[in-house]
């Protein structure tokens, strides 16, 4: 572990230097969603008993922003480094595959968590939400941003052009996060779409995260945590293997 702390520091510094775009912008988007959907749907939707729709929305929106930003961090950093060529400054030093993987992953999680905190900080004065089981919320925040951080690494290594990365983001990450039960409880869906939702790993991240706030969820939080953790472990193992082989990085 020689270069890991520095690579992690560099990856965090990189997004922090442009935090207006990487942190403030997604927080503003989340608040816009909150205002618009709360206004349009508050009177029509009751997701959980005893929880107002606006309250219900907050953790979901926060988690969606966290997931999307965790993905954006590792994927954009890697593809920019690859396309500009400065990735060699990471490949030439004596850093092992695990060090490179861990640094990009943790930086992505940090970005996701900072954005999540931003969303809560900004919504606190609009809609205070209870936080019944903080440990559950933290656990799902970590695992959820982890999954997307790893996916971002895969996408960043795989994509050779910005439009390929945009494809990954718009056709996979966006739909999967958007349809993961941010705006509704899965139980309001027809049975077929309920079973489809259960195949979406992001659904478990959001549902479990919400349990941390309201003590209620569509699925048992232990099941969600198990599902999300297995996904994270499998993706990590595969990605580490790709980096070890030098896939698209070392020729």
């Amino acid at each position: 572990m020689t270069g890991f702390p520095t690579l992690l520091y560099k990856e965090v510094l990189r997004f922090w230097k442009v935090s207006f775009q990487t942190v403030a912008a997604p927080v503003v988007s989340a608040i816009l969603y909150l205002i618009v959907f709360a206004h349009a749907l508050a009177a029509h939707v009751q997701a959980f008993p005893g929880v107002s729709y606006v309250e219900f929305l907050v953790p979901g929106l926060a988690m969606m922003s966290m997931l999307q930003n965790a993905f954006a961090n590792s994927s954009s950093s890697l593809i920019q480094s690859k396309l500009t060529g400065n990735i060699i400054f990471i490949l030439l030093p004596p850093m092992g595959p695990a060090e490179i993987f861990a640094a990009y992953l943790i930086a992505s999680m940090v970005r996701g968590l900072v954005v999540g905190l931003g969303v809560f900080a900004a919504t606190l004065w609009l809609v205070p939400v209870p936080l019944q089981h903080p440990l559950w919320a933290v656990a799902f925040a970590i695992v959820g941003t982890g999954i997307l951080g790893v996916l971002g690494i895969v996408a960043g290594i795989w994509a050779e052009r910005f439009d390929q990365l945009a494809g990954f983001q718009n056709f996979l990450v966006m739909p999967l996060t958007f349809l993961a039960g941010v705006f509704y409880s899965m139980h309001t869906l027809p049975p077929f779409w309920q079973s489809v939702s259960k195949l979406n790993p992001f659904f478990y991240a959001i549902d479990g995260f919400r349990y941390g706030f309201f003590g209620q969820s569509d699925v048992d939080p232990w099941t969600s945590l198990a599902f999300a953790t297995v996904t994270l472990a499998a993706l990590s193992w595969m990605t580490l293997h790709l980096i070890r082989r030098g896939y698209k990085l070392r020729h």
Partner: protein
């Protein structure tokens, strides 16, 4: 122990044989030149040395450390200045160098970074963003980046391409002093004059193979010679000289001479023959001639 050793290194990209059985070794403290036309495999060899490319077969080592089995030690031992100008636009010059040090596990490196900045005339730009630098300055930062961990072996892949004269002089002065301090230097360049002045030994590559390897002096003696370049205003060469003379691509003739005293002799013969000399010049052996001859010879082999 050689500073760099390559043994039967093969690398194929699709159908292209980028490295076709390269074997060579660079001794510690040498200033070694790696020359060859574009596509000869020089950059692939350097990339393999730094672990950016993995060889299909053969072994490569830096200071005795195998570049794949013992990659951490090998990469600590070498500093590579890549050919293309690349930089990270998020950081300043000093941040770039601090981060690069950190990748090698060096957390307190400010003194050496300051020295590098000073030696490469970058001190005034230390806090400027990389984007704000000119091409030549970015190149110097890349040299500094390759040296943050004080590697015993320094590899420069065409470091002076597109760099102005003054900067080139500063850079060579610095690299020469590093060589004098015991660092091994491996250099690729298209400026053969530079290679001739700097390198004590040279390998020439073509189509992924080493086609010539030897001391600079030895290669010059074998493939080049001192010539008298003559342009005539009127008259013709006397038969004795004409037999030895070659047409000069720049116009006139090239007459091989063993030493400068022979120039007088040739001049006397010309005068006796009644030829009027327009210009006269003694040209010393040139690496360029060696290079051209070796590359032509290799074409015939194919």
């Amino acid at each position: 122990m050689p500073a760099v050793q390559a043994a039967e290194v093969f690398k194929r990209f699709g159908t292209v044989r980028a490295l076709d059985g390269v074997s060579l070794s660079v001794e510690e403290g040498e200033f070694f030149g790696l020359l060859g036309p574009n596509g000869a495999g020089k950059t692939t060899l350097i990339s393999a040395l730094g672990g950016l490319v993995s060889a299909d077969s053969g072994t490569l080592s830096v200071m005795g450390h195998d570049v794949t089995r013992d990659f951490r030690a090998a990469r600590r031992a070498v500093g590579i200045v890549p050919q293309e100008i690349v930089f990270d636009p998020f950081f300043t010059v000093r941040e770039t160098l601090e981060i690069q040090s950190g990748y090698f596990g060096l957390r307190r490196n400010a003194q050496w970074i300051d020295e590098l900045l000073q030696r490469l005339a970058l001190t005034s730009k230390a806090n400027a963003n990389m984007r704000a630098l000119s091409g030549g300055m970015k190149r110097r930062v890349m040299v500094a980046q390759a040296l943050v961990h004080r590697p015993p072996v320094i590899v420069l892949d065409e470091p002076t391409a597109g760099v102005d004269v003054e900067l080139r002089q500063t850079l060579w002065q610095f690299i020469r002093s590093l060589n004098a301090a015991g660092h091994t230097i491996v250099l690729t360049t298209h400026y053969l004059e530079e290679a001739q002045q700097l390198c004590s030994r040279i390998a020439m590559m073509k189509d992924g193979r080493v086609v010539a390897l030897g001391s600079t002096a030895g290669l010059l003696a074998e493939f080049s010679e001192r010539v008298l370049r003559v342009k005539l205003e009127s008259g013709t060469l006397p038969p004795a000289l004409a037999a030895r003379a070659q047409p000069d691509p720049a116009g006139g003739f090239r007459i091989p001479i063993a030493d400068v005293a022979h120039a007088e002799e040739a001049l006397r013969e010309l005068r006796t023959a009644g030829a009027a000399v327009a210009s006269l010049e003694v040209a010393e052996p040139e690496l360029e001639e060696v290079f051209v001859k070796i590359m032509r010879r290799e074409e015939k082999v194919l």
